[in-house]
């Protein structure tokens, strides 16, 4: 594979650049200097629009603080950017502009939701409402005990059952949650991460019980353990074990359920925890590469793994930095994948980007303001050419969302796409001096962060040693100081603050949910075939011990039997905890 003999990096002649530079100098020393002459400055409120006021800051930086932002961008700022090699065309290496040549012109987003709370029945009520309202994508939110592989009556689960999502102990709970919802043709799945093999088994056995062909249900398992060690906190085992179990899921799905999606790598906890846009790209690529290699070790080649996986990112508030971020992410991935996998295969080099907009920017004060924030964040994602977008509701800094707030958040991308025509052309910001300059700067800085991870022995070691925590804590601290000093404005929090709170309707959960769940759990324990349960757990233990000794064996078949037998989630992960040990994170701050 030879380096393509590039045509000219400089589109214009050297004389043109000289002429342009002198134009800029003339402009700065003439028009700008005149505008900012002290004797001319009239501060607000003497002017209506601030048209004669001085600039509000000495130096302007991008939203994540990485880059100084100039007053204006010109062709000189991207003088070395090659329109063919660096910007290119959609769906061509390096994929700066898009992964798909026709972009959103062919896009039909389903109405999709992430929801769930209480016991299966309570969740089912909301799912039916959503389905009746047209939702064909229903992601299940799971409660904390479920995400951590604990039964609803585990001591530390008290008060947590059904609070942040649905409580699932056995497949009966999942059946309850999905009662009356047609599965065929539905996009569904969960964001469970360290419970991947169990989640696979749950959906598969659900299909069995409903007599539905699992190949016709579009299940996505997030199955992303790294996320849990970088700010989300619902981890179970140590990172090496977690990655091994997660890649068993990847292997099984590739071989037996290729219509399902088996893994997504999420940079969201890193970003929401305080990292910058460039760190999000650099760390994201390093971590996803680790999953690519774990999959390859299980026989799933990069050209089969990558098209089914996503890099799932935040979309933060600086509109242009974020749009540029997605473009830089695709370009840097393409270059690094080419280096590491040593291929030109577009299946490997074109990474799929999905988004969950910046939940960390939601304010509890004046929650309706959040709808404005998320609109801009969704717009940034669309302008960045991502493949799918999820949006939290405006009241989620206060509680779980209501049906109305969930639906409103979901409609954002539909209004922008269908009414505001932002998807009519592919990569509308391509060629913008500002955005191309930002894309270049982001790529360069992201590469630095990627190198930092690799210098530490790669993603698994970086995660184990808590490298990301330090960067997150620094970024978060800086942000907090900026808000508290007023340097960074947050409307309703430190600017235009209302004295009185505007009341909004907040979701009320199911106060009896925990009790009902525990009763059902006990009923199942009494009524099931306990001999079968014992046998299945014994087999699961044998498989785990084999794996723990270093021999290769996929855990999913044993997991399927345990789930069919109605072994509870706590029993299943209890066995695995005994074999693999528990994990704690260092309390470093």
């Amino acid at each position: 594979m030879e380096e393509s003999k590039s045509s000219h990096k400089n589109v214009y002649s050297p004389e043109f650049w000289e002429r342009f530079q002198s134009k800029i100098t003339e402009w700065e020393e003439g028009v700008v200097k005149e505008r900012l002459a002290p004797e001319k400055i009239k501060p607000y409120p003497l002017t209506h629009s601030g048209g004669l006021d001085k600039e509000t800051k000495k130096e302007f930086t991008s939203g994540s603080g990485d880059f100084a932002i100039k007053r204006v961008y010109t062709p000189l700022d991207i003088k070395d950017t090659d329109p063919i090699e660096d910007i290119g065309l959609p769906a061509q290496y390096p994929y700066t502009r898009s992964r798909d040549p026709v972009g959103y012109r062919a896009f039909r987003w389903p109405l999709g939701f992430y929801a769930g709370y209480g016991s299966g029945e309570s969740a089912n009520q909301r799912f039916r409402e959503l389905y009746a309202a047209g939702a064909r994508e229903i992601g299940l939110a799971l409660d904390l005990p479920t995400q951590i592989g604990l039964d609803s009556d585990y001591p530390l689960a008290e008060g947590e059952v059904g609070k942040v999502g649905v409580a699932i102990d056995t497949v009966a709970d999942l059946e309850g949650a999905m009662e009356g919802i047609p599965l065929t043709g539905l996009y569904t799945g969960t964001t469970g991460n360290c419970i991947g093999p169990w989640m696979l088994a749950m959906f598969y056995v659900l299909c069995e019980k409903r007599g539905v062909d699992p190949h016709k249900v579009m299940v996505t398992l997030q199955n992303d353990p790294f996320k849990e060690y970088t700010g989300r906190g619902t981890f179970i085992f140590n990172p090496a074990v977690a990655v091994d179990l997660a890649s068993d899921v990847v292997e099984y799905i590739f071989n037996y359920l290729p219509e399902w999606r088996s893994q997504i790598y999420c940079t969201t906890p890193i970003r929401w925890g305080g990292c910058s846009a460039s760190q999000e790209i650099g760390f994201g690529i390093a971590n996803l590469m680790c999953y690519v290699e774990a999959a390859r070790d299980k026989g799933v080649m990069p050209e089969d793994y990558i098209p089914r996986a996503n890099l799932h990112m935040s979309s933060d508030s600086d509109l242009f930095e974020e749009a540029a971020k997605f473009r830089a992410a695709r370009r840097l991935w393409a270059k690094i994948a080419r280096e590491r996998v040593k291929t030109d295969d577009p299946r490997v080099l074109a990474v799929r980007l999905t988004v969950f907009t910046a939940a960390n920017r939601l304010t509890a004060q004046e929650p309706l303001n959040n709808t404005i924030r998320t609109t801009a964040q969704v717009l940034a994602a669309i302008l960045g050419g991502v493949d799918h977008i999820h949006v939290p509701a405006h009241d989620e800094a206060l509680a779980l969302p209501t049906f109305e707030s969930t639906r409103l958040a979901n409609l954002t991308k539909h209004v922008l796409h269908d009414e505001c025509f932002v998807g009519t052309t592919v990569d509308p910001l391509g060629g913008s001096y500002y955005v191309e300059s930002l894309t270049n700067q982001l790529e360069e800085k992201a590469r630095h962060w990627y190198d930092q991870v690799e210098a530490r022995g790669g993603a698994k070691l970086a995660v184990e040693r808590g490298y990301y925590f330090k960067e997150m804590a620094e970024g978060q601290y800086r942000y907090q100081k900026e808000v508290e000093s007023g340097e960074r404005q947050v409307i309703g929090v430190n600017k235009f603050v209302l004295d009185e709170k505007i009341p909004i309707k907040i979701f009320k959960g199911d106060p009896e949910g925990e009790q009902k769940q525990i009763e059902r759990l006990n009923k199942i324990r009494r009524e099931r075939n306990n001999t079968r349960v014992e046998a299945s757990l014994s087999e699961l233990r044998k498989v785990a011990e084999t794996k723990a000794s270093g021999r290769r064996l996929n855990i999913v078949p044993a997991m399927l039997e345990a789930v069919r037998a109605d072994a509870t989630i706590g029993e299943i992960f209890g066995v695995l905890r005994e074999v693999y040990g528990d994990h704690t994170l260092p309390g470093v701050f």
């Binding site: 904390l144 951590i148 906190g233 800094a397 997150m472 907090q480 260092p586």
Partner: protein
């Protein structure tokens, strides 16, 4: 008169693993001259009270984002009373609806902080709670 630094225990009880806020407050309190111990996440009420006793803690700060605040605070306050440690103030931060904040205060929680709280408020609150404690 020289004061010994205030000893703060920052803890995350229950299953919620989002540590960003807890770590931020821990750092701010440390920058304000306090001795801060952070337990990490997934602490039982028993573990927290035991650590507070062993580490000779002056004030306990909890971070709870999962909605389980009523159950967890109730248990921790009960244990503190049982151990004769009820004079140690308990402050709580996280996702706590206003109505629940009142309930927590009635239980005996000294102060409740929501999202967007200015960190200097937390520092001031800790100092005030320590001052009023010294008066007794």
């Amino acid at each position: 008169m020289d004061h010994l630094p205030i000893r703060v225990l920052m803890a995350k009880p229950g299953l919620d693993g989002h540590e960003t806020g807890a770590k931020l407050i821990a750092r701010v309190l440390r920058d304000a001259g306090m001795d801060v111990i952070y337990t990490g996440s997934r602490q039982t009420p028993e573990m927290i009270v035991r650590t507070a006793s062993q580490e000779d803690i002056d004030i306990i700060g909890l971070s709870i984002l999962s909605g389980a605040h009523k159950e967890l605070c109730s248990r921790i306050l009960t244990l503190l009373r049982q151990e004769g440690m009820e004079d140690i103030p308990l402050i709580v931060g996280g996702i706590i609806p206003d109505k629940d904040a009142s309930v927590l205060k009635e239980m005996g929680v000294s102060e409740v902080f929501g999202p967007g709280t200015n960190t200097s408020q937390v520092v001031e609150c800790v100092r005030n709670l320590m001052c009023s404690r010294e008066k007794h």
